[in-house]
């Protein structure tokens, strides 16, 4: 499917290849879950009997990562561009957001969204109570969004100012310069650190176990507290996390290769 990187002129990723990439990733994860189920069922007690609990937990972990990852990416792009603005009132909200989120622990943020936000909203007349999943998604996507914002800002700053000046002198306005000249180049630079954030997000989602969301870590701690056998359980959890991140990076590596093409 992919040609070796030495081919001098590859087209950057088009809609078709992107679709193929998504399809491939989805298929790979389905296959991975099938494989995990088969392997875990073979293992001796206490893992084998409860294999389905681990798989269910792993599925929840992946769901959390994907949903929060997408929202976090959008948040990051918006806040990242805001931070490079020349206008202080555009920069300020993004700066405050990043300051708050990056300066407090994720565990506190998750507990805050779950336990403190509903009563706060109630006191101003909004009766909204997020369930465990969406509480975790809100906290995780805000968190990864703040880190993504800094990555994207760095990417934008890495584009030589001459590029922007040239675009402006050709008659493009600010928005056009950003969307057609600066961002396409910046996005290539930021793919590896964004992937890094995504992998970190997958592992950080384990903190959602504190609000009774049955993801991989809580599934494991249920099993270990029933069987009193922490070694096989923790080893299994670690192995499943590793499998998830491995498959994920397999595909993000492809993505990196493809977006690199245009800059060579």
């Amino acid at each position: 499917m992919t040609k070796p990187a030495t081919t001098p002129r590859q087209q950057p990723m088009g809609g078709g290849t992107l679709l193929l990439w998504f399809g491939g990733a989805a298929a790979a994860f389905l296959l991975l879950f099938l494989l995990i189920t088969i392997i875990l069922r073979q293992l001796p007690d206490p893992i084998g009997l409860r294999a389905d609990l681990f798989v269910e937990g792993a599925r929840m972990t992946l769901m959390l990562t994907l949903v929060s990852g997408v929202i976090g990416l959008i948040l990051g792009v918006v806040a990242g561009i805001q931070k490079t603005s020349a206008l202080w009132w555009v920069r300020l909200p993004a700066s405050i957001f990043i300051w708050l989120v990056r300066g407090t622990p994720l565990l506190v943020q998750i507990l805050f969204v779950y336990n403190a936000v509903p009563p706060l909203l109630k006191s101003i007349g909004i009766d909204l109570e997020l369930n465990e999943f969406w509480s975790a998604v809100v906290a995780l996507s805000l968190n990864v969004g703040a880190y993504n914002a800094e990555v994207i800002r760095a990417g934008i700053l890495a584009i030589p100012p001459g590029q922007g000046e040239a675009a402006r002198s050709l008659g493009l306005n600010g928005a056009q310069t950003m969307s057609t000249v600066v961002l396409p180049q910046a996005l290539r630079i930021v793919v590896p650190p964004l992937v890094n954030n995504l992998v970190a997000l997958l592992k950080d989602s384990s903190l959602a176990s504190s609000i009774a969301l049955l993801e991989l870590t809580l599934a494991g701690s249920r099993v270990s507290s029933e069987s009193f056998e922490p070694i096989p359980v923790l080893t299994t959890i670690a192995a499943v996390y590793l499998a998830l991140t491995t498959v994920m990076t397999l595909f993000t590596d492809q993505l990196e290769k493809r977006v690199k093409v245009g800059s060579r």
Binding site: E129, R222, S225, E226, F228, P232
Partner: protein
């Protein structure tokens, strides 16, 4: 397919062997050192609870008395509940007193002393909520992870959702916040909660009865014998009755 599986199994076995090299302190070792290490949770009022920095509660005072009658100083350790027996198995402390219901699964992993009180798992809910096991059908129930309440709620048919929290107090908070329709926990803790919340919650039926015991590491017979002897003495000389009256206004020892 065969190979990686075998490797994984081998690795697990090797790790398990590495981990099981610890040795529980026997009664002679403890007696010689003069200090006994006791673990509890510290988040289970009125049995074991941290009030600020001070660890107190019925079980804490009882264990202090037992240690005193054995002529030992006490060093307390607090741990998350689901970690307590795991820590005991790796000999981080000599025994655990943390309202562990005696179950066959647990008895396979550790050795239990004679029960030091009898209780039950009770439903607590908001007024108008489910009060019986049958009424739990279609409802969501909050419980603490690694407890007998979790096991027993699972046995109730038709429960929509069992939410497991790291601490009992978190599970109660979920009930208070309306995130669960009921909380299942110890009946005495439930009574305390009802008292503390002044009518915002009510206690329903008992789901099951259980006997509560202290746990020592598997095979530590010498320590178990001393603990049982001290407990028997306390039950007969009136000190247990005094302590039980102070906390519950009744004698909570097992009747049969």
């Amino acid at each position: 397919m065969k190979r990686p599986l075998q490797t994984a199994l081998l690795t697990l076995t090797a790790l398990a062997l590495l981990a099981s090299t610890g040795q529980a302190r026997t009664w002679a070792d403890i007696k010689k050192s003069g200090t006994i290490k006791i673990a509890t949770e510290g988040a289970f009022p009125p049995f074991n609870v941290l009030k600020g920095k001070e660890l107190t509660g019925f079980e804490v005072e009882l264990a202090n008395e037992l240690a005193k009658s054995l002529g030992l100083k006490v060093q307390w350790v607090t741990q998350p509940f689901d970690n307590l027996l795991i820590g005991l198995k790796s000999d981080r402390y000599d025994f655990v007193i943390a309202s562990h219901g005696i179950t066959p699964e647990r008895a396979r992993a550790v050795d239990f002393a004679n029960p030091h009180y009898c209780t039950g798992g009770a439903i607590v809910t908001k007024p108008g909520g489910p009060m019986t096991a049958a009424a739990l059908s279609g409802k969501s129930v909050a419980v603490q992870v690694g407890t007998t309440y979790l096991e027993n709620v699972r046995k109730v048919s038709g429960v929509k959702d069992v939410k497991t929290f790291p601490k009992d107090t978190d599970a109660q908070a979920a009930l208070m916040a309306g995130r669960a329709d009921a909380w299942v926990g110890d009946k005495f803790t439930g009574i305390e909660l009802v008292k503390a919340q002044k009518g915002k919650v009510v206690q329903g039926a008992l789901l099951f009865n259980e006997r509560i015991g202290m746990a020592v590491n598997k095979g530590n017979a010498s320590l178990l014998k001393e603990l049982n002897a001290a407990l028997t003495k306390s039950l007969s000389d009136g000190s247990y009755a005094k302590l039980s009256g102070k906390y519950f206004g009744q004698d909570v020892r097992c009747k049969s």
